[in-house]
Amino acid sequence: MHANENRKFGMWLFLSSELLIFAGLIGAFVLTRRSAFQNGVEWWEPNAFSLTLVSINTFILLASSLMVVLGIEAIRVNQQLKLQRYLILTAILGGLFLAGQAIEYSLLIFEEGHSFADPFGTAFFTLTGIHGLHVFVGVIWCLMTLLVARRGTFSSYNYTTVEIFGLYWHFVDLIWVIIFTVVYLTN
């Protein structure tokens, strides 16, 4: 019982430190953008396609969070198969998000010519890239949780591992909600 509480406590501490990292990255993005505007440096504005793509990606990530919540609700009442299905859906949605991000990156790099060399590219790729890395880690973690779930390890009396994965995944979703507004909508 205490071990479970300690694991959750540790996870919340980890997430609070992650929150500060992302606050710094978002702050750096906003400062770089402001500096670019003040100095007349070219900045990027999302076109209709980019905005549609990233809106769909946002919907995908929100839906993936819902899948995790439903998975935890299922294992709370000992529905192990349901948990496995929701974890599979979460991993698929996470993969789709990463695919959407890959499309966006390829458009920005190969069609619009952005790179790490320009101020926009530096700020944008650093912020969204580190977030994408978190999603990638989340997908791997989800698949590992699924493997453990398939062994029948989890039950209504033992699902803290799923809860801790869920905390991480929701955190990644929470950060994206802010990034989506700051990077794409407040240009």
């Binding site: 919340w12 969070s65 700051v182």
Partner: protein, 96 residues
């Protein structure tokens, strides 16, 4: 009569959680609203605070209902809210 021990070693009674589909619906509608608002090309000093406020409310919903912060021990809220307040202050200050 004492309650039976909660499954999974939970410290408190098992709360009836808010319908997650409802929360998802609110998050989706808020996102659509955000995107639609940007299409009106309102002045930056009007639109930025509105969009940031909506984003932070959405983030709060995720933390409260998806991360179950509303039903968890107060210490988790303190751990998470303290840097969150700093982050909100930082982003608002820089973005305005």
């Amino acid at each position: 009569m004492a309650n039976p021990p909660a499954p999974n070693g939970e410290s408190g009674a098992h709360h009836k959680h808010t319908n997650p589909v409802l929360v998802f619906g609110i998050l989706t509608l808020a996102t659509i609203f955000e995107v639609v608002v940007t299409l009106f090309h309102l002045p930056q000093n009007v639109i930025v605070p509105i969009l940031l406020a909506i984003a932070f409310v959405k983030a709060g919903l995720v933390a409260a209902y998806y991360m179950h912060l509303r039903y968890e021990k107060w210490i988790y809220t303190v751990i998470f809210i303290t840097p969150a307040l700093f982050a909100v202050f930082l982003i608002f200050t820089l973005a305005m």
